[in-house]
């Protein structure tokens, strides 16, 4: 266990990024490259009865049109608006667009269910959860808070579009594409193309933002590969934003009924929780995952959770930053705030008084954690004590209403078996074959810091290979487990390399840094491979990792459960006239175990507040039920936070290792960092106005 804190180093890949040199998938240029454009279906459900591709084939510059029947996914059956029915490949992007727009189709349409509250929509229950005696607690309750909360469909909208460059050479396929799971992309491509995975390379060295949307294999990737195969030329596709809204995944809309009880001593006693969400019958985002993490947030011993799906005829919803704990936390943390008012207790104090030590879902201890430290430090920095609890009691001179709100967040600290190979060379360079994907979270910087912390090597000459299936297995970088999985293996590799060197150098090592020492020992390099398992895993997990299969574990480990925690405080101002809502200030403090890369972790903390703000006050994917498509399918009408929206943001990290979760004491943070912001904002708006708003996004008309 590293006892010392990690030092602050600059983001190791920042230089390439500020120079514009960093290469993302669609930045790849290859000689003779062609350009592709998709043709989206214009009905939500039914079948293509006729498609006319002639105008496209006759378009100057068009080289090839892939249409119905030309590839397994190009089928006439349409299950959602925007589904690709053809792809045009041309000498230039402009010609590809012209060709794609020239294609016309007619459809047989079928009835569809666009929204979870559309006529005909029904709830399909999923397995629930029940512990303790909820009914008795409700009978004995002194206070019951209840509410129906709703969070909308929201799209990830990473700035990088889905971009794919595919090319074949000697029977081998290479694909350049930003994705969060290049192993799975490779396996999907191999299956689609009917070739061995060994013949496929996916390069995703840098990802221009993922947030979950780039985790599953993309429908269009194999189409691009097929086009490259047919034309025997490299092919590039950059999917337009409007199409992405319709064919990529998104956060499903969900509705949460929550009832929370307290007894006459002011103890929180039970939660009765029910959720329904939009989904697909075989959807990748389960409805009974909402209660699990938030149930571990406080010491509340009795929980009944029920859940259900409502099947809709739109593209498939999936994980989106914050995943289940974001909507569930919005509901719970709003209810907690309301209960604090009922009980006449400060909402920070109420939370402090209910520190959880037990995971009631599994019935085992929670690993030691520091949520209460987060709350206390946040309250101190935010000057929470100046808050007068009465709604509407704090105003500025011009009548602006001031609201101060707090909320917490919790996310499972999962991990994965991982392996890494570290080589330090006499020529001054270091190379590590790592695993994961760099989406801006700073995984490369964390790996570099783990190396320079333990080895005297040139810090600016470390090559960190990841995101590329040709260098080694690349684990899915999802559920904030990337850094938490690769760092323990990296730390072990560093220790092993040091041990190897000591063995090599004997009792009187030569002077200089490690490179110089190697040179003096006439050793061109030393290399070690180290692997680490998550608690409870055996060798099969490592084998799964090595073959690109699922190797994850947690947050429930044998004998304990480990979670990441955050406490967030916001100040909201509401203008007296127009009721414009602004957030001049936020404080965010997290317990993510040992902080490996302080600088990039702070960046994540800042970004989490921006994400949370944006989910709370800005974003909604708007579906017109007559069409089952997203009306606001661009970045002007899908409103995301801009610089002028964000006031001062003060962030802090507790930086105490989780002594149980892994050998480095590291927990993830990518999802966690945005979890408290939305409920804190809603709570602050209540404090400012006396109005409890239970539906996101909160807009000006909600407080007018």
């Amino acid at each position: 266990m590293p006892a010392e804190v990690f030092s602050d180093i600059a983001r190791v890949d920042a230089r390439g990024k500020v120079l514009g040199q960093t290469q993302y998938g669609a930045d790849m240029h290859l000689p003779g490259m062609l350009y592709a454009m998709l043709v989206p279906a214009t009905v939500a459900k039914g079948a293509v009865s006729n498609i006319d591709i002639t105008p496209a084939t006759e378009t100057s510059g068009v080289v090839r049109v892939l249409s119905l029947g030309d590839f397994p996914t190009l089928s006439p059956e349409i299950n959602y608006l925007g589904y690709p029915i053809a792809m045009v490949v041309a000498e230039t992007l402009e010609a590809a667009i012209e060709g794609a727009e020239a294609i016309t189709a007619t459809y047989e349409t079928a009835p569809f269910i666009p929204l979870m509250d559309s006529p005909g929509a029904t709830v399909v229950p999923s397995e629930g959860f029940d512990t303790g005696d909820v009914d008795t607690e409700f009978q004995n309750a002194a206070e019951i808070v209840e509410g129906t909360f709703e969070t909308p469909a929201q799209h990830h909208n990473a700035m990088e579009l889905f971009g794919t460059v595919a090319h074949w050479s000697g029977g081998r396929l290479t694909v350049y594409e930003g994705c969060q799971n290049s192993d799975s992309a490779r396996n999907a491509l191999a299956e689609a193309m009917g070739i061995s995975p060994e013949l496929v390379t996916v390069k995703s060295d840098y990802v221009g933002g993922g947030f979950g949307q780039k985790s599953p294999p993309k429908l269009q990737t194999a189409l691009v590969a097929e086009a490259a195969r047919l034309t025997q030329r490299p092919v590039k596709l950059v999917t337009p934003r409007g199409q992405l809204f319709h064919i990529a995944n998104y956060r499903p809309r969900s509705i949460h009924n929550i009832r929370l009880t307290a007894n006459s001593e002011g103890r929180l006693t039970a939660i009765d929780y029910d959720v329904v969400q939009e989904n697909w019958p075989d959807g990748g985002f389960r409805s009974n995952g909402y209660h699990e993490d938030v149930a571990r947030l406080y010491a509340i011993g009795n929980l009944r959770a029920t859940a259900g799906d409502i099947y809709i005829d739109r593209n498939m919803p999936r994980h989106t930053r914050g995943t289940h704990p974001f909507p569930a936390g919005f509901a719970l943390e709003s209810a907690i705030d309301e209960m604090a008012y009922r009980l006449g207790v400060d909402p920070v104090q109420l939370r402090l008084d209910h520190e959880a030590t037990t995971d009631i879902i599994v019935g085992q201890p929670l690993a030691p954690h520091f949520l209460n430290d987060c709350l206390r430090e946040g309250a101190r920095r935010f000057d929470w004590s100046r808050r007068t609890p009465e709604p509407g009691s704090m105003t500025l001179e011009d009548g602006t209403l001031v609201g101060l709100g707090v909320a917490c967040g919790i996310f499972g600290a999962s991990g994965s078996a991982a392996e890494t190979t570290l080589r330090v060379r006499a020529d001054g360079t270091t190379r590590i074959i790592s695993s994961g994907h760099e989406m801006g979270q700073g995984i490369r910087t964390a790996v570099a810091n783990a190396i320079v912390q333990g080895l005297d090597v040139n810090p600016d000459r470390i090559e960190i290979l990841l995101g590329d299936t040709s260098v080694g297995p690349q684990m899915a970088t999802v559920g904030e487990r990337g850094t938490a999985s690769i760092i323990p293996a990296t730390v072990k590799a560093v220790q092993a390399l040091r041990a190897r060197f000591e063995e090599l150098a004997g009792p009187n090592p030569p002077a200089g840094n490690l490179h110089q020492q190697l040179a003096r020992l006439k050793r061109p390099y030393i290399e070690v491979t180290a692997s680490e398992l998550a608690p409870g895993q055996d060798a099969s997990a490592l084998e799964a990792f090595r073959t690109g299969r699922r190797a994850g574990a947690g947050s429930e480990y044998p004998g304990f459960t480990s979670m990441s925690y955050i406490a967030q405080f916001v100040e909201i101002h509401i203008e007296p006239g127009t009721r414009r809502i602004r957030m001049p200030r936020a404080v965010s403090i997290a317990d993510i175990g040992r902080v490996v890369s302080p600088r990039t972790a702070r960046g994540q903390m800042h970004g989490g507040v921006v994400w949370g703000f944006s989910t709370a006050l800005r974003e909604q994917s708007e579906v017109d039920p007559r069409f089952a498509g997203y009306l606001n399918d661009d970045l002007a009408d899908y409103v995301m936070a801009v610089n002028a929206d964000i006031g001062e943001v003060d962030v802090g990290l507790i930086d105490k290792p989780d002594t149980m979760v892994n050998s480095a004491g590291v927990k993830g943070m990518g999802e966690l960092v945005m979890l408290g912001t939305a409920p804190a904002i809603a709570n602050a708006i209540y404090h400012a106005t006396g109005k409890r708003i239970r539906k996101l996004p909160i807009r000006i008309e909600d407080v007018l």
Binding site: P240, G577, E622, F627, L631, V642, N643, A644
Partner: protein
Amino acid sequence: MRGLNYTFAETADAAVTQFAEAGGSARYIAGGTNIYDLMKLGIERPAHLIDVSRIEGLDAIETDGDVLRFGGRALMADVARAPVVRDEYPVLAESLLKAASQQLRNMATVGGNLLQRTRCMYFRNGAGSSTTVGVYLCNKREPGSGCAALGGLDRTQAVLGTSEACTAVAPGDWPVALAAMDATIEVFGPEGTRNIPIADFYLLPGDTPHREFNINPGELVTAITVRKTPAGRTSTYHKIRDRESYAFALASAAVAVEMDGDAVRTARIALGGVATTPWRASAAERVVVGSSLTPELALEAGHAAFTEARPGQHNAFKVELGARVIADALIIAAQRRV
């Protein structure tokens, strides 16, 4: 998008000539921030673009005489920072600076901005181009085809000036300020020069929502003139949107007043974000003129602007929001007296 010819016109005469020669398939392009966008959306499909952004003298900003005169191709950014505009006509400067982004203001012209087309999502996102997916009926795009916004998601649609055929909001900020300042639009075309009061420049949708501007094929906006007035100093453009910047108005108000002590001598009030054209709110003006300006009276004026409002399903809030925007704008403007 189909292939097209791209030519530059060196003079306004040459532009008009080129337009005529192209035989109806041409469009003028200045900054291109709107027409190129609309081409990508499949809404505009010109075969010939005539670039008017290099016409000599058409970018002049003249502020010395009795009128402010802005050449049609003057950039929004340049007009906003012209000293007289910045110092003496905050309503004009603010309407420009609260529009779009600094990048777009370096591209878009003050003449082209007058002709910016609506942001109605059914209009924009429904033409079936490769950049968007929806196919929505729209009377603006295809006259007589129908309006998908009716009965649709209408939160951002207009509450004033609507018809059964169209509820699309006029998108601009600058035209709203110009409406308050009684600007005149100078256009040049095959028939020579016309000067059009801004009140006559924008057409209500009625049964013909595809007809948006009082401008004929081949005509080019060559200048905008605003008669100088002391009310310019006591003015503001107040804009409320779904985020703090880089967004179109949910409701906005251009207000210029002349004060006599606490009393309002003259008032000019125009609305954006709520109506199908830049909307002069004469009823609101009548409420305040001749009276002492109090917050209560300002709000009463705001409400007076919306007595004819016809909200839809999700945009009724614009009535109250718009009234409060006017009220706040009146107070802000009045406080600017020296």
